[in-house]
């Protein structure tokens, strides 16, 4: 700030002490922070305010997502807007809520305190937010109340005495409909007024309330509600009717299973054409460049390293988009809380929190967004358990490996009246993943932390029609996060793998395959004796080295090992494998892949989410042990039965 002040022609003075006239020439934009209950439409309001001018990062030192954007005031000044995680109270209980509390109190490391708070409230559900507002009042920061979803309140015939309420709370009120961008200009205007008139923060009198003070605040909220809000003439009856079906003990679970089925259909069927397009596109690109360039290191680097590397990341994008499309849609609709309600007791049996359902579901697409989604779980131990078992869910990166091995070793025939044996095997692999996740979490809960589970208290929000723009925007955001985070880790690893499997090159005139002389070959040969009891040959152990970059890379690596190794090998990779491996080895490889932590990105994300190397290390060890054990049992059994 000092640097900017010195270099700017109009500079001078610290901006918080500037008064009206100089405000227009402020050097940095004024900061506005959005606070509110979950489900208040806070994110929709953030989107309506900032449009596409958003930036997502992490807060320094913690793993909570930091969403910041910019908005222009009527006379062209810029305000910076921060979307704080939703909370019911400043008494923070999860990492997300700690961020909100510290940001509001101006105590967040690396963040300047906001100049104005916008408290976002669901106009149809004011009781709890009034208590939060009373807490925020104690902090003493200038505040504007945005009564969001005001259209729904009006439709219900809910009457709010806006003037009276504003007088009582001592802050201006703006009614908004974030999804239709109504009231946004007025809200910005009110915030701008506050900044221009130089509203300054009073003294912070907030302290963590005890039970008596919470009760008192509720009585206050009740009194305010009674005085200024007339109950709706036509209250929402739809939510009750829908809940009667969706929360029904039997019908509700059946519908949940149906939805899950639909999601998987979507993820695995609809994504297919797009994935083919992407992988064929990259193959064609590789082919084009391969033709244009002379044989040599550069060609090999571009085709086998760069293009194959980028392609291996992008190919999962369609599945991740479809999965997140469903999740965002259901979240917007208000269903996710219901799913947690339905699943709580079932998951609780395995020592998992009902909210772990959503992260574990995401892990079927990719453990990385799944592990990132565990932030919704307040309790640290519940969250760690979920993080530890998330990679056991069959992520989409395992599918290419499963598909390849199944097509090579499992005969394509019908059993038990029309069921495909290959399909059954695939189902069995999924089931093994789920069963082992439940088992591991149960053991973790029983051995490592025996305390009872965190209280399960959750608002069931009123159902709302999903807002297409909100869904689309969040979908784009998820795609961007996946591409940057996965791309940043996977791509360099792919290049490293290329280096490992290319250098040192084979001596001229050597008879053996080139990769045999490379570092990857050396590692493969060195490790192979360890993996011999589970039936792995050296080509497989070589493929496992790059397979640590990402699971599906093992397929490409096997292709490399066998293609490079055998010269121009005819036939598909599947038929090559069927010729080289025994059935027992194929099955053992499948069993290995159910458990093995073959994903450096996942371990990296766990490190970041837990802020410690302990948990990725625990994950690496326990998953490798499980994988070895499972592959050993499968190989030895199959070999004993004559599959060797």
């Amino acid at each position: 700030m000092t640097d900017a002040a010195q270099s700017a022609p109009l500079g001078g003075g610290s901006r918080n002490k500037e008064t009206t006239g100089a405000q227009a020439t402020r050097l940095a934009p004024a900061r506005v922070a959005l606070v509110g209950n979950p489900n208040s439409g806070k994110t929709a309001l953030f989107n309506a305010l900032t449009g596409s001018r958003q930036k997502v990062a992490n807060y320094a030192g913690v793993t909570v997502e930091r969403k910041e954007g910019h908005v222009q005031t009527a006379d062209g000044r810029t305000l910076s807007v921060l979307d704080l995680p939703g909370t019911y109270s400043l008494r923070a209980r999860s990492p997300d809520e700690v961020v909100t509390r510290d940001a509001v109190l101006g105590k967040l490391a690396g963040e300047e305190s906001p100049d104005v708070l916008i408290c976002v409230a669901d106009a149809t559900n004011l009781r709890l937010v009034l208590r939060l507002i009373l807490e925020l009042k104690q902090v003493g920061r200038p505040m504007v109340l945005a009564l969001n979803m005001y259209d729904i309140a009006q439709r219900q015939g809910l009457r709010i005495d806006l003037e009276g309420l504003a007088r009582e709370l001592g802050c201006p009120i703006v009614t908004t409909v974030a999804t239709r961008k109504r009231g946004i200009a007025e809200l910005v205007g009110k915030v701008d007024d506050m900044i221009l008139t130089g509203a300054v923060a009073g003294t912070n009198a907030w302290r963590e309330p005890d039970a008596g003070q919470i009760r008192h605040a509720h009585r206050e909220a009740q009194r305010i509600l009674k005085a200024y809000v007339r109950p709706p003439e036509r209250p929402d009856t739809l939510t009750g009717k829908v809940d009667a079906v969706l929360l029904h003990p039997i019908a509700g679970l059946a519908i949940l299973l149906g939805l899950l089925f639909l999601m998987f259909q979507g993820v695995f069927t609809w994504a297919g054409p797009a994935q083919d397009l992407i992988s064929n596109g990259f193959a064609a690109l590789g082919g084009l460049i391969g033709q244009a360039l002379p044989d040599g290191l550069l060609k090999s680097f571009l085709v086998d390293g760069v293009i194959a590397g980028v392609g291996s990341v992008l190919v999962f994008l369609p599945q991740i988009l479809i999965l997140f499309f469903f999740i965002l849609l259901l979240e917007d609709f208000g269903y996710m809380a219901r799913a947690a309600f339905l699943m709580d007791r079932i998951m609780g049996g395995a020592g998992l929190h009902g909210r772990a359902f959503i992260p574990l579901l995401s892990s079927f697409a990719c453990a990385i967004p799944g592990i990132m989604a565990t932030r919704v779980i307040d309790n640290k131990r519940d969250r760690l358990t979920t993080i530890l078992v998330a990679p056991l869910m069959t992520c989409s990166a395992r599918i290419p490996v499963y598909t390849l091995i199944i097509s090579a070793f499992i005969p394509d025939r019908k059993v038990w009246g029309g069921m495909s044996l290959q399909g059954l095997t695939m189902f069995g692999l999924y089931a093994a993943g789920i069963a082992s996740a439940l088992l591991v979490s149960l053991i973790t809960r029983k051995i490592f932390w025996r305390g009872a589970a965190e209280p399960f208290l959750m608002e069931l929000p009123a159902y709302k029609a999903p807002d297409p723009e909100n869904v689309a925007r969040n979908l784009l955001l998820r795609a961007r996060i996946f591409l940057t985070r996965a791309g940043v880790i996977i791509f360099p690893l792919m290049v490293a793998v290329w280096v490992l499997s290319t250098f040192p090159s084979a001596p001229a005139g050597s008879a053996g395959p080139a990769i045999d002389y490379s570092f990857a070959g050396m590692i493969g040969h060195a490790v192979q004796p360890l993996l011999a009891p589970i039936g792995f040959n050296w080509q497989m152990t070589v493929a496992l080295v790059p397979g640590f970059a990402a699971r599906e890379v093992a397929v490409a690596a096997l292709g490399t090992v066998y293609a490079i190794g055998d010269g121009a090998g005819g036939g598909t990779l599947g038929s090559i494998l069927a010729g080289h491996w025994s059935l027992a080895t194929g099955l053992s490889f499948l069993a290995w892949y159910v458990f093995a932590p073959q994903c450096a990105s996942t371990l990296g994300v766990v490190k970041r989410e837990t802020n410690s190397w302990l948990w990725p290390a625990v994950m690496l060890v326990y998953m490798t042990a499980l994988a070895y054990l499972a592959a050993f049992i499968v190989y030895q059994t199959a070999a004993a039965l004559g599959g060797a």
Partner: protein, 110 residues
């Protein structure tokens, strides 16, 4: 109502009459009434957090003295968790954590 050892023990036998106070943990679908007390005493060490913390969380969610409550839904396994209407909002919670919420029932069950 002093025997609160097991929240579900005599769920089936209990037929609360008008003016009877029960812990929310024993309420069944359709039961409605007014919360008359939110304590911090049952099964310490069973909630994953201290009793006073559980009490504050319940209070923060609106389980306060004077609030109207009605059980709307029960989970499939052992009727747990429950979804209640709490004044004008809907909240889901586990029976285990609802024991300290005492409800004065409006009328006997049909």
């Amino acid at each position: 109502m002093n025997d609160l050892q097991s929240p579900l023990a005599d769920l089936k036998n209990a037929v609360p009459a008008e003016g009877v106070v029960i812990p929310l943990s024993r309420a069944r679908i359709g039961d409605r009434g007014v919360i008359i007390e939110v304590r911090a005493e049952s099964h310490p060490g069973d909630h994953g957090v201290a009793l006073a913390e559980l009490q504050r969380r319940l209070l923060e969610f609106g389980f306060v003295e004077g609030a109207r409550v009605e059980v709307l839904h029960e989970g499939a396994i052992r009727h747990d968790p429950i979804a209640v209407r709490l004044d004008d909002m809907r909240v889901a919670l586990r029976r285990r954590d609802a024991e300290d919420v005492r409800v004065l029932l409006d009328r006997p069950r049909p």
